[in-house]
């Protein structure tokens, strides 16, 4: 018997300490302090980087030793380490247990019906006002009743001899705000676990015109997508006259079982999702040694237009004219050097692509002109002919972040609930109001004395203003009545 009781006592004390605020405070402190480590030690980085970082603090000779200790402690990937995860688990248990422990009491407070209060009790409330009116008792009561109702209070009445009391409460559910926030944190954790368990994060580069049906995770393991994705083109656009990128975009086409099912131009902040897998524009680059096609839109004043796909050295004719062009040179980033005044290529990446075309027409000397992709007006030729340099296609790849995260919906739901919970806990208060109306003197002769008292869980100043407003409204209404 004694043993059992002892056992129960131990269990009870464990339960109590799991529910305690002390534990919550302790865990929050530990989480805050320990999280700092992972912001100083670079996470999941190459050892050399962190060893040279540690050398700054511990000297070159000790750094490798300290590094090894840190590795053992899990500091190099600490947010996934057993001890950090254990703290998060303890944190969750604390949230659950303390909510279970406290919720019934809170629920009781919310559900407890409000009772009328003695006048002396009302006078000792944190917020109280007294007014006197020359009127009839039931009139005053009616007016207060309406005013409270207009302020969305559900009013109860209690009558005694020579006095009437109105009492009401609102916003009791505000006391649940903290629990709602606790639940939302748990939901976010659940969503994160679902994401890790059933989702993946991967990456894939697709050359312009290329197709893939797999992506690669951090360990370079290939993950089959279950369908294939083609990149029609990749493009960087720039702000006018400066080399600041305005948008990175790729046109992607999804093929499922050989059929085209989706086509979208993706941008940063505007991904494509198919069958739960999302493709984000994350990088781009040049394919080494690739030979591409020059895509030109050529047109003549007669309105004839044509899109041409040409290789280096190939020739074309502007439709409807005798003007012949031949592609003779290409620059990834053309500019005029400020000092030498010569045309130079200032970057290996395609910042300001330009194509040099040699034009030939009967009765004129050959001439060569540069046409810049970012400045289409450079392609306005004589006699109204136009050559627009659309793209140098086939030399770039698009880098896509590929993610499947079935938990993200749960995480977002958690976030939404958290926002609601925070709103309730910080901006709504549990307010109670008592209005005690009594006739001074005897037999309906004396003035009516009204005592308004109230309490609130927060925002007392606003609450006082609310009560003032109600009183002002009633005095106004009373005046209106006496005039009639």
């Amino acid at each position: 018997m004694e043993k059992e009781e002892k056992k129960r006592n131990i269990l009870e004390s464990i339960w109590k300490s799991l529910a305690s605020v002390k534990l919550a405070i302790f865990i929050l402190m530990i989480l805050a302090l320990s999280s700092i480590i992972g912001t100083i030690v670079e996470q999941q980085a190459e050892p050399a980087r962190n060893i040279s970082l540690l050398a700054k603090f511990f000297g070159d000779s000790f750094a490798p030793t300290v590094y090894n200790i840190f590795v053992k402690l899990g500091f190099m990937d600490m947010y996934r380490s057993w001890w950090f995860v254990s703290f998060l688990v303890l944190f969750s248990i604390n949230l659950v247990v303390c909510s279970i422990e406290r919720l019934p009491k809170t629920w009781k407070i919310i559900k407890k019906p409000l009772k009328p209060m003695a006048q002396s009790g009302i006078k000792s409330l944190p917020v109280k006002k007294e007014i006197k009116l020359q009127a009839n008792l039931s009139d005053v009561k009616d007016v207060f009743h309406t005013a409270l109702k207009e302020s969305r209070y559900n009013v109860f009445e209690a009558a005694e001899e020579g006095s009437i009391q109105l009492y009401t409460q609102r916003g009791g559910f505000a006391r649940l705000g903290a629990y709602i926030v606790h639940i939302s944190i748990l939901l976010i954790f659940i969503g994160a676990i679902v994401g890790v368990r059933y989702g993946f994060k991967a990456h894939v580069n697709i050359p312009e015109g290329g197709t893939t049906s797999v992506a690669y995770d951090n360990n370079r393991k290939s993950i089959p997508l279950g369908f294939s994705v083609k990149c029609n083109w990749y493009d960087t656009t720039y702000y006018p006259d400066i080399d600041t990128p305005q948008e990175f975009s790729s046109e992607l086409v999804v093929y499922d079982q050989g059929k085209e099912v989706m086509k979208k131009v993706i941008e940063v902040n505007s991904p494509l999702t198919y069958k739960g897998i999302t493709f984000y524009q994350s990088s781009y680059g040049k394919i080494p040694d690739a030979v591409g096609h020059f895509v030109l839109d050529v047109s003549s004043p007669s309105g004839q237009e044509k899109t041409l796909w040409l290789r280096h050295g190939e020739s074309f004719v502007i439709p409807g004219t005798e003007v012949k062009g031949r592609i003779v040179d290409f620059s990834t980033a053309l500019t005029r050097d400020r000092h030498s005044n010569q045309l130079i290529t200032y970057s290996d990446s395609m910042v300001n692509p330009a194509v040099a075309i040699e034009f030939e027409e009967p009765g004129r000397e050959k001439y060569t002109g540069w046409i810049l992709k970012r400045y289409p007006e450079t392609g306005n030729l004589m006699n109204g002919n136009k050559v627009i340099f659309k793209d140098y296609w086939g030399v770039e790849y698009t880098g896509l972040q590929v993610a499947k995260d079935p938990g993200v919906g749960i995480v977002y739901l958690g976030c939404l609930i958290m926002a609601v919970g925070l709103y309730i806990s910080f901006f709504i208060s549990h307010k109670k109001i008592w209005v005690y109306i009594t006739q001074e003197g005897s037999k309906g002769k004396g003035p009516i004395s009204v005592t308004v008292g109230g309490s609130t869980t927060k925002n007392r100043i606003t609450f006082e203003q609310e009560i003032d407003k109600i009183i002002a409204k009633t005095s106004q209404a009373m005046e209106g009545r006496s005039k009639k």
Binding site: A24, S52, K201, N269, Q401, A403, C415, A419, F427
Partner: protein, 368 residues
């Protein structure tokens, strides 16, 4: 007049206000107090106009680059919250709004002496750091409504935390009974460091050329004094700093009398502190953490990656969550929670500036 000039003008008014608030604290002359408030309001009006001007400029810039953009989209994309410069300006603006509200609602003027230094520090930081005042085009990753709301709400939250910090520092000195109290020593050190960094940045500002300032964040922060390459200068700076903190500890106690004479009660400071946090915490949670995560997910497909910035904002959140729990269910009162309010704001500063300033510095060194 360009928006940058107007911002400078408002910064001038705020600095003048700061000095006037301090004079008011010392002299308790009512007219000086009114002058301080007036200076703050004038600064605030010019800053508001500058903010609007900058938005308008940004709007026409965006439209010139994106002629097909709709009205709402253009307005959102051109909101002046794009870089360090603009976000700090907005932080100062929010701080001043909160400060003016408190001044008129609680009728206490002297809190200005604790809040305007934050505004001054932020503005000085902008100037020293030589952050670009040009309207910069929005790079693709930043072209998101989530990001805009994220920055907007975060900074309102930060400003609220800043006010709580000001109230908590005033509170800590007011409730001090003797100089050997731990909280008073803590207060002396924090206030000391705050002023030292402010002065140090002032010296950086004077001694750096404008081209060096553009690299300020990474390379030149406090390089003229505490982090000087010349050992002598560094040692002297450290000694001066430590002596200075000692002096604050020795004489800061006098502030208590000054505040008492201005009939400020610790109770009011305590209330301002927790009300500010009660406003800051939900805004920071929603704007800083939730919207930041949603933006990251829509841009990169990862809502949380434990990068130092994210982690530090979570640390900040933990500290304020700790504050709320300690205060409302843990029964902590007075000094202990005030210390938490101070620590919370240090975490805020670290989240916004320290991560770029200290941590990235560490890592870039490691990479070289």
């Amino acid at each position: 007049m360009s928006s940058a000039n107007l911002f400078d003008l408002s910064a001038g008014f705020y600095f003048a206000a700061l000095i006037t608030y301090v004079i008011y604290l010392v002299t308790r002359n009512k007219k000086t107090g009114v002058a301080a408030t007036t200076l703050t309001i004038v600064g605030f009006v010019s800053q508001t106009i500058a903010f609007a001007l900058r938005w308008i400029h940004g709007y026409s810039y965006w439209l010139s680059a994106n002629p097909t953009s709709g009205l709402i989209e253009a307005l959102l994309r051109s909101a002046p919250l794009r870089n360090l410069y603009e976000s700090l300006i907005f932080f100062v603006w929010c701080l001043i709004v909160f400060h003016l509200v408190i001044e008129f609602k609680y009728k206490i003027r002297s809190l200005g002496a604790f809040v305007t230094p934050l505004a001054a520090a932020a503005l000085l930081f902008i100037d020293v750091a030589g952050t670009t005042t040009e309207i910069q085009p929005l790079i693709p990753a930043l072209q998101s409504n989530w990001l805009l709301f994220h920055v907007f709400l975060s900074f309102i939250g930060y400003a609220a935390f800043g006010v709580a910090f000001g109230a908590a520092s005033a509170y800590l000195v007011m409730v001090t009974e003797s100089k050997t109290e731990k909280t008073y020593i803590f207060w002396s050190i924090i206030v000391g460091i705050f002023i030292i960094v402010l002065v140090g940045m002032g010296i950086d500002f004077v001694s750096l050329s404008s081209s060096e300032r553009s690299q300020f964040l990474q390379n030149h922060f406090l390089k003229s004094t505490l982090r000087s390459d010349s050992g002598g200068v560094a040692v002297v700076s450290w000694i001066v700093s430590i002596v200075f903190i000692g002096a604050i500890w020795q004489f800061g106690f006098g502030l208590k009398k000054v505040l008492e004479n201005l009939s400020i009660t610790p109770r009011v400071l305590d209330e301002i502190q927790y009300k500010s946090i009660a406003i800051g915490f939900p805004l920071f949670t929603l704007g800083g953490l939730i919207m930041g995560a949603i933006w990251a997910n829509s841009a990169w497909g990862k809502y949380w990656t434990w990068d130092p910035k994210e982690t530090w904002s979570l640390i900040t959140w933990f500290v304020y969550a700790l504050y709320l729990h300690a205060r409302f269910v843990g029964g902590w009162r007075g000094k202990r929670v005030a210390v938490l309010a101070v620590v919370g704001f240090i975490a805020v500063i670290f989240t916004y500036l320290g991560v770029n300033l200290v941590l990235s510095g560490l890592h870039s060194y490691g990479a070289s």
